[in-house]
Symmetry: D2
Subunit: 385 residues, 4 copies
């Protein structure tokens, strides 16, 4: 069976999730193209990197990404670093003719994102941006129901993605809280996901107006190398330069109205990525903390038995999930990455462009950018793609 060599840049949270995806994909989703976990690249002492490579299942490791993306034996470069590094890495990988998987958000600005898109298009490589929540079986099934006309004309879309991991004022100033590294805060991290899901399920957004807030404006400096969850502070204080929470209103091209919340101050909501869509024929509701369930309300049923139905999305007839376990045996967060890699490999095999790709990544940035601008000037902003 043909093998395809993968290089993964990033060895923290996303590196772990992507590594697992490459290891697992062909165990559950047989296919002709088999990913070979060639090299992992990260900024860390050799000993640590070596241990990580071994634990995650990579043949080699390296701490120079420029060298890695230039390797002749690599066909796919997977960029799973903090977002401020995406731009140079992707540009270089594209120039080297590699197919590219890039974590979301695609970049830290619309400009960067557009340049990256131009680079991959010029290089003629496949490109994929990992809005992994599209690969939750319940979300993919929601999409299928929508395409089958089960909600009819959309009226109202509500997306709320709430987390609470930085509520403690003593939680340190990690890279995700600095604009120069993260581009934005809740908006680009989780709002990007909510926006992508909305676009996926309900189509393009034409106009937005937003509100960004930073509740804790100064935090202890982060210790060296600290990541996100559970990070410990160091001496001294620094300024938080991103939003703790961003909300916005939207109008969709299909005429429906949209309301979005994204917050890192939603106490008790650990990974509460949710949406509800209301249409002329039906409604849908989803919550990532119960990611194996989809709620569906069918307005075409006999009125006396109408109600929100909790579909346990674990049937062989549902997207992806038949490859795993029998009905009712639920799957978890990491599986979305496996599904993403599976779909990417299928595209690679068939020469098809993956979805969502950098075009979707750019579109996502344009919306986020409009939200930021609307907040700054206090007016609605049109989305121009």
């Amino acid at each position: 069976m043909p093998e395809i060599n993968i290089a993964l840049i990033g060895h923290q949270f996303m590196g772990k999730a992507h590594s697992n995806a490459y290891r697992q994909v062909r165990r559950f989703f047989p296919g002709n193209l088999v990913p070979r976990m060639k090299v992992i690249c990260g900024k860390a002492p050799e000993k640590e990197l070596s241990a990580t490579a071994r634990q995650f299942g990579w043949e080699e490791f390296d701490d120079e990404w420029e060298r890695v993306v230039a390797r002749k034996d690599i066909q796919v470069v997977d960029v799973s670093t903090p977002s401020f590094l995406h731009h140079p890495m992707v540009i270089a990988a594209a120039k080297a003719g590699k197919h590219i998987i890039c974590e979301k958000p695609l970049a830290n600005s619309v400009r960067e994102a557009r340049e990256m898109l131009r680079a991959v298009e010029k290089a003629g490589v496949l490109h994929y941006v990992n809005f992994n929540y599209r690969r939750v079986p319940a979300v993919a099934f929601a999409k299928r129901l929508i395409e089958d006309g089960r909600i009819g004309d959309a009226y109202h879309y509500h997306g709320a993605y709430l987390q609470d991991w930085i509520m403690d004022p003593n939680f340190p100033l990690v890279w995700r809280l600095e604009k120069k590294f993260a581009g934005s805060g809740a908006l680009g991290d989780i709002g990007a996901h909510a926006t992508d899901l909305a676009t996926y399920l309900n189509g393009d957004i034409s106009e937005v107006t937003g509100q960004m807030t930073t509740f804790i404006t100064s935090r202890p400096l982060a210790g060296v190398g600290s990541g996100s969850w559970g990070a410990k502070g160091s001496k001294g204080k620094g300024k938080v330069t991103v939003d703790d929470e961003t909300n916005f209103l939207a109008r969709f091209k299909n005429g429906s109205a949209g309301v979005f919340e994204s917050s890192r101050f939603g106490g008790g909501r650990r990974n509460y990525n949710t949406f509800q869509v209301y249409g002329s024929k039906g409604s849908l509701a989803f919550n990532m903390e119960r990611m194996n369930e989809l709620e569906f309300y069918d307005r075409t049923e006999d009125q006396s038995v109408q109600g929100f139905k909790t579909i346990l999305v674990t049937e062989a007839t549902h997207p992806y999930v038949g490859a795993w376990w029998p009905p009712g045996h639920i799957i978890g967060y990491e599986h979305t990455f496996v599904h993403a890699v599976h779909d990417f490999l299928t595209c690679l095999e068939k020469g098809r462009m993956p979805k969502p790709n950098f075009r979707d990544g750019v579109k996502n940035h344009v919306v986020l950018d409009a939200v930021e601008r609307s907040t700054r000037i206090g007016r609605w902003q049109k989305i121009k793609i």
Copy 2:
């Protein structure tokens, strides 16, 4: 025991709910001041009105509100008509020196509302505007928890009030869908409730920006005398002049961010009046369709046992509910009106001004008005009370 004579204007949905409240209040909430159901007033054929009076328990009936509000033997006038009638009735009742209970929204415009406030203040009567959801035990208990500091500093408030009773495009053009009668649509009907609850729980709103949408712009003309739910259409079509849905963003004076949805197109949501508040110490969530429950998340607990807790608000230690049945025996929608009347009578007895009163009603209108204006001009609007 001293009796106090009540005149009720309005004999439809709200008339029914208010009548029940007067009948029931002293059965469950003993008190010195006893309401006497003197006269009900409505626009209907004598036979119908007479039957309604008998069924609802009123001694007399009348179809001329001017005559009723002028009666010497009446101490309290309860205005439960469609909102476009509130202004003249309240002004007249105030001039006649009556204490006033008025359904929400107080009026159809800020101007009207201010005039009504001036009138009652000039007359020196007690005035109450019936944002009845404040009298849900779970909501009053939420207020108590907030006042006790259980959520700490507020960060995020989300209020969503969704219904679905006009989703059928053949649902007729009832008065609630005409601006001249209703002032606005979802905004003034249910958005007003959501706004009032937010103000009650989270304090004043300082700024808003909104979005109003009408999905079905033309509807069959309504038959004469048709009310709201389950109304049937007549021949011909008319223009819908109010919003089917209004969403808005808000900033509160306490620094927290607010997101509001109010829609009559939320399929499957029958009376889904909900809120979530997130603060530095805890979070609260409520849904009127499960009005006996309050969800509470306590961030001060040991982390490993933190979680959203479903409190069944039916204990003797909870507001209002001890007067009804033993713990776990739930109450319903109509009880909120009984609690409102009970509180009003207590105020009357003690010579205290009820809450929420016309000042709150005006404040509510100012916010709704700012939402409308912000929608029209596409910019944030400051709230000036």
Copy 3:
């Protein structure tokens, strides 16, 4: 309109709920026969009884039930006392030719129950035993779905009625904890309800085997006049002579299997009267703490959209509930009593025997009795009606 004079015996918890039902029934359920609240009877000082009569809306009061049931002007006697008093009262009322409403359990033994049935049948009066949970709209709607064949052949029935009001070992020895007054504990109080609902929904039980447990065997003596919830203890200790919890297995005549739990030690379950029925075509689930909801699973739907659906049983098409408020505006515990009285009055008007009547009450006792016997001898017991 013809009036019918009611005498109510019992002025505590049930007296309060029944009084409310008589007051409210014609306010919401118009009908030709109007109940007149003639006299309430209870064992209490005249001052207390007088106040109760006034508060509950009775014209007269009396403390001698023998006198009351013999009154010529009374047509209906409502027996809402503790169960050990039902037998003499019902026998006397029947002899006096009164129609009878009797609280559940019908009596304290099968023998008593059978004598009561014989008495009412001999007297030719209407008789009703108030298993009020049949009158929850969601329960009546479940019954309708079952009769419409929506669950198909029944396989499994689970009824669990849990409460927790006597978990504190210092909760006193109220009458419900003494066999001579209550007949049994959890079994007769709440297990009787669970058994009746099962019989109503799933047909007759043919065989049972049970398990009865008393966790706290000795308690503080109760103060004089203490009722149930929230009672305070007095000096000295007494022996608990009833079950704190009774569970049993059952076989139904229709071939399905049954599992029943009834406990007063279900911490956190305040009035958790629940059932699930599983059949060849569908499943149903109910919980009294969310009494306005019915969960329905339809196995005949397309497999990929099957799921438990939460039906908010507040539609005009649902039993009883259309008489109250618009869809989504929920009702409470007390409404079941109003529905019961409404049905009783309709029967009275049409000369029909109410359901459930004393035959059902006897049947219920026979099952409870078999559960007790099976526990004593450790073997299955056949039900012989």
Copy 4:
């Protein structure tokens, strides 16, 4: 790092889950002892077996288990075949001095189970029986709360394990429906899990009485090689010789009462493995379909804020789960097997006997056997271990 060679017998559903566990364990749970996936053994054509070995990650494959268990280079034999094959395989593996992991139920009878226990004890090897649900983080956390005294004295335990995969009368007569292969039906398959969880959480059972039912007594013969879920029928009909559903009552040694349901006819319940425990200080509730959540009710809290709390068991402070993803990022069914293998390897490294081991497996069989006997003779049966 020392490696330990594993032989896995069984290549269907359980073989897939166990293979995944060996592959994944050291990716997420670092440890000194590393499992090497040496050989998988199954009854299948070479081509199929070879493909399975490759897909699941085994170095070799074999179709003769006798040969496999005798291999000198194997240290651990994992028996994941249908239960009727456990006895000979385990006996042979023990004689060959292998450490043993065996799927549940341990055997098809108490006699077999006892012989297996004797064999492993005589051989002095480590033995583990895979009641995998003990390794759900929420279940292990429930155990911790119980051990910490958070529920106090236990009063009531309810375990219900419902599935619905054989409800279609045309579902064929797979091996799980034949007594000679499966020992029993719902009882041994899922009732065994419910019983083990109860013993784990609430201690030993002293007495039981049961009820076993077969709803569909004759089914289409199964095609060759058909497994469980989604199997298709062949020509001809055969007799179902096991129970479709088994319920039983129990008394625990700690004085609490137990109620158990296990059914394959619980329509809409796909893998509904649930329990509730009620004690003097608190209550717990769990549902495997929402396996990342544990409900906890704390009776020691201030009464007005008591309520069932949904703990999302994904914190670093919770058992196992910190090794996976950040808080709120849920895991799935397969992870329980990874946790089991991790614990087994730790025991192997430290020379400790795993839990649950064959003693627990025997105990489980003794309870199931008593349930069967009690059903046959219609009386309670004491548990004698």
